[in-house]
């Protein structure tokens, strides 16, 4: 606030007090989002407990498509991310932003549109995912009409948020708002790019990216969905609610500044750590690994600012459930963000990837950090949003302890299980020449007790959540909703405020220039040729030294500049966007624009026949990719178990890619031709008739459902558009090709004593599976013939 001007020429005249008005906050939408997060959270976690139980008892799949594990798993992940954390985040952002900027949300209409639109998206997810309507990419499963709805509602949210900022009465933006801004711009960018698709029908589309490009974009999105949907908004919420609940000042403002900028810049680069030791080009893997390690300290900056803010308030933890939840949540955040870089080290990843260790890591973050932050915030908000104290504090404390024990059981079980299975899968014998446990199921059966422990842990956590729902209901029932208010002076908005930055002011200044130059030189070093590279390295070091010296000498200038930046929402948003966009551009553009021929190594995939393509869409529909990878890593145990390591060209025409991220069952990249057709038939009908002890669900409906061939011409046309070298087939040619291949497989099955009508879905899926791993050799210069030739 500028001090009131004292003019000695007019000593008698007192400053006119500006008229005061009362602003009532829009807390209705906060209440709505809060209730929705508790309800959807219960649903999402209930599905989680069910699918965990299905891994133990295959009978719980009930031989029903929409109750089958692979159909419900996307529902669980999407519900927890977008419904639980999403709704909770919106509640927290709307509550805190209005108070931090001293303004009511800009539009009641947009607020309601945001709320109801988001709930409609969640409902449509619940009505599509279990029925196999999916895009087949993790956390990007929702079908394209829902994608458009998500983008539109996100735009509504952004407009509502930035419009509120534009009308703020508090010029300076608090650190929580920085994190909200980063969330909004980055999620929009990630979501739109990763969901670019061409529809083939109202419910089906193919990603415009295929193979390695799709893998890279997907994990740029998947990793940063964790970063900018599950982390940055929750950090913002932490920065508001934790000091409020503790009644203590935030530990360090400069730590906020440093960890915010380093976090948003570094996070984006780390996506390829989901693809370590795969056929992803190694330079991307090395970027993913090293940037993940550099992410450790920025992440811990958030943890430190959270935990150290509690200094002087630790005694309150004994009695206050809100602080208990917050302190535990921040601790879990610290644990997960240490574990993440650890898992991103290539050699650790060789053991942990595809195993339950990753599941432990994810749930430490979601149950511990997201779930407990949501719970703490809910308990803190209840008495403030409804005119009534919390129904029962002991019940909230009980929730905390049940939830904590639940997380520890869950995470402990998954660590044990992941490391055990990883070690068994990697174990070799006879001087390292053969696998010790060649049967994948041997490694599954050993971890069964841990799978059961996971169900118990998850159920305990869910029980705690139900306690909160009950507590909320008892507190709110009959209570009167109250909306917060604030007294404000009706001042003229200070136009041309000298504190604000001009365009030149926010571009031409030491922090921005040194950052841009430093990153530019570093990129020249990493990607330049010989001389450029050396110049880049020298430039980077020079830049670092000069920046450090300048900072030490002109510390106050840097600080003053930043104080002015945070009163300027637009420049702040633009700079944040520049910081997050850099990593994505540098990784994705080369991979996408480079001609595909350069990305195939020595092999090229043979395009699927129409029947195989139909089978592949069934593979995606049934969610096979959720348990089976199609990526043999450049690791000895993988090669010994599954065959020669996968090359880039072998999935170049796959829209979407199906490399997978978890092996509840074995890899399928080279399963084609390994077993007879009848093996697959029996195995899909009832896996235990072939593999005794398997926990895979039955997919017996594939044997009776007729195959939908009517959509194939459109699908093939879209594949052609995407660059898959299909000839210009007529519809009749497509259907006759399908029928011929169907008859051939059905005849082979009949010879083996199995009778299936040729036009059933299972025939197409078998055709696809038997084709996996087939490729043509490519000589570096030569052009291999396409199907059209």
């Amino acid at each position: 606030m500028p001090p009131v001007g004292t003019n000695s020429a007019e000593p008698e005249r007192l400053p006119m007090p500006a008229p005061k008005t009362t602003v009532e906050f829009n807390d209705k939408v906060v209440r709505q989002f809060l209730l929705a997060s508790v309800i959807w959270g219960a649903v999402g976690m209930l599905v989680g407990v069910l699918i965990a139980a299905q891994l133990n008892f295959w009978q719980l799949n009930f031989s029903t498509p929409w109750l089958t594990w692979s159909h419900l798993r996307p529902l669980h992940t999407n519900a927890v991310i977008f419904a639980l954390v999403g709704n909770s985040m919106f509640a927290g952002i709307y509550y805190s932003t209005q108070r931090l900027v001293k303004a009511r949300l800009a539009s009641d209409f947009l607020s309601q549109l945001h709320f109801w639109g988001w709930q409609a998206i969640i409902v449509s997810a619940a009505l599509t995912l279990p029925f196999g309507l999916t895009r087949g990419q993790e956390y990007g499963e929702l079908i394209w009409p829902v994608n458009i709805a998500v983008v539109l509602i996100w735009v509504v949210f952004s407009v509502n948020f930035f419009w509120t900022l534009a009308r703020r009465r508090e010029p300076s933006l608090y650190v929580a708002i920085w994190f909200y801004i980063a969330t909004i711009v980055t999620v929009a960018m990630l979501y739109i790019v990763n969901h670019l698709s061409i529809p083939t029908s109202w419910t089906h589309s193919y990603s415009v990216f295929g193979g390695v490009q799709n893998a890279l974009v997907q994990w740029w999105y998947g990793h940063n969905a964790v970063a900018f949907f599950l982390t940055t908004p929750i950090l913002g919420i932490m920065y508001y609610f934790l000091p409020k609940a503790a009644g203590r000042p935030v530990y360090s403002y400069r730590l906020s500044v440093v960890h915010f900028w380093s976090l948003v810049f570094v996070y984006i680069w780390a996506g390829p750590h989901h693809l370590l030791n795969t056929s992803l080009p190694v330079w991307l893997q090395d970027l993913g690994m090293t940037f993940s390690l550099m992410l450790w300290a920025p992440s811990w900056g958030g943890m430190l600012n959270g935990l150290l803010t509690l200094r002087g308030a630790w005694d309150k933890l004994r009695t206050d459930p809100v602080l208990k939840f917050f302190a535990a949540a921040v601790t879990f955040y610290g644990m997960s963000t240490f574990e993440g870089p650890l898992l991103a080290i290539k050699s650790v990843n060789a053991l942990a990837h595809y195993t339950d260790w990753i599941i432990a890591h994810v749930h430490g973050g979601t149950l511990g950090w997201n779930g407990f932050m949501a719970a703490g915030m809910t308990y803190w908000l209840i008495p403030r949003l409804w005119n009534k104290p919390l129904h029962s504090v002991p019940l909230a404390n009980l929730h905390f302890w049940i939830g904590l024990v639940g997380i520890l059981l869950y995470v402990g079980a998954m660590w044990t299980s992941g490391i055990t299975q990883g070690l068994m899968l990697n174990a070799t014998t006879e001087h390292g020449t053969v696998l010790t446990y060649p049967n994948f199921l041997d490694t599954v059966n050993v971890i069964r007790p841990m799978m059961l422990m996971r169900v118990i842990g998850g159920a305990l956590y869910l029980a705690g959540w139900f306690l909160m729902a009950y507590n909320l209901w008892m507190s709110v029932r009959g209570a009167e909703p109250v909306n917060g208010t604030i007294e404000v002076y009706d001042e003229e908005p200070a136009h041309g405020d000298p504190g604000r930055l001009s365009v030149a002011g926010w571009v031409l200044n030491a922090p921005v220039l040194f950052s841009v130059l430093g990153v530019g030189f570093a990129c020249a070093w990493m990607f330049g040729g010989h001389i450029v590279s050396v110049a880049g390295l020298v430039g980077t070091m020079f830049c670092a030294v000069v920046a450090y010296t300048h900072f030490e000498a002109r510390r106050k200038n840097w600080g003053d500049w930043y104080d002015r930046l945070i009163v300027s929402a637009v420049p702040f948003t633009v700079l944040t966007f520049v910081a997050v966009v850099a990593g994505g551009l540098i990784q994705i553009i080369p991979t996408v624009v480079i001609h595909r021929a350069a990305n195939v190594e020595d092999r090229r995939q043979i395009p699927y026949t129409p029947l195989e393509l139909a089978g592949r869409d069934l593979y995606v529909r049934e969610g096979c990719y959720l348990c089976h990878s199609q990526m043999i890593r450049t690791l000895v145990p993988d090669v010994l178990r599954y065959g020669d390591y996968s090359r880039l060209g072998e999935s170049i025409y796959d829209h979407p890619f199906q490399w997978g991220s978890k092996r509840n069952g074995p890899d399928l990249a080279r399963v084609g031709g390994k077993y007879p057709n009848v093996w697959h038939l029996r195995h899909l009908e009832n896996p235990r008739s072939i593999s005794s002890g398997s926990n895979m669900p039955n997919f017996q409906w594939l044997l009776t459902n007729p195959l939908d061939v009517g959509t194939l011409p459109r699908k093939i046309a879209v594949q052609r558009q995407l660059g898959v070298p299909y000839p210009l087939w007529t519809d009749a040619e497509i259907s006759s090709g399908v029928e011929a291949q169907e008859r051939e497989i059905a005849r082979d099955l009949r010879d083996a004593g199995a009778y299936v009508a040729p036009d059933r879905e299972v025939i197409a899926l078998i055709a696809y599976l038997q084709q996996l791993g087939h490729f043509e050799k490519v000589t570096p210069s030569g052009h291999a013939p396409t199907l059209a030739d």
Partner: protein, 195 residues
């Protein structure tokens, strides 16, 4: 904390700005935190230089090719030192150590198609019946060994040699042979027509 630093003031200065009642200290960044950050940056430079800039370290493909070649050499050496013939396999089939080890491998791997009874298609399995004296791909111990090692891909019998290794293949063959006798009559049944 460093014992040489004087004790901090009772309450550190706060930043002037207050946001909805929230105030902020402006504490120094903890040294250990800063050095962790710097150390990871230095690691990035070193790692990138080692693998991507100077190309000293091997790439993923070079590494796996080298490792697989070493394994291949190991296997060749082992095969050369083993003298495998019909007589020695019959001998093993009478040795309980081999037969028990073979039973475990058979029940874990082979029984999915050949069934634990070894009767395969007779008991509803996919694989051939291994209890009869009629053989499709030869019933001599070395024939069985070769079939198990190299597979009969067109008939859906995978090549198990690379997966199980020679030792376990020999044990499994010994186990199958334990249901047969040296010198028993043996007929060769041709594969089903059309296959």
């Amino acid at each position: 904390m460093n014992p040489n630093t004087p004790p901090p003031p009772i309450e550190d200065p706060l930043r002037p700005h207050v946001y909805d009642g929230i105030r902020e200290f402006d504490k120094r960044l903890p040294n250990w935190w800063l050095f962790t950050f710097y150390a990871t940056i230095v690691f990035w430079v070193g790692y990138w230089a080692y693998y991507q800039w100077l190309h000293v370290g091997p790439g993923n493909h070079q590494r796996i090719e080298r490792q697989m070649a070493a394994i291949e050499a190991e296997k060749l050496a082992a095969t050369a030192s083993t003298k495998l013939d019909n007589a020695s396999l019959w001998q093993m089939s009478r040795n309980p150590v081999f037969v028990e080890a073979g039973r475990a491998t058979f029940n874990s791997i082979c029984a999915t198609c050949h069934k634990e009874s070894l009767r395969g298609s007779v008991d509803g399995g996919i694989g051939a019946n291994l209890r009869t004296q009629e053989w499709i791909h030869g019933g001599n111990p070395l024939d069985l060994y070769n079939t198990a090692t190299n597979g009969v891909l067109v008939k859906g019998m995978p090549a198990w040699g690379p997966v199980l290794g020679q030792k376990r293949i020999i044990e499994a063959v010994a186990y199958v042979l334990s249901y047969h006798h040296e010198g028993e009559p043996m007929t060769l049944r041709p594969a089903t027509a059309g296959k």
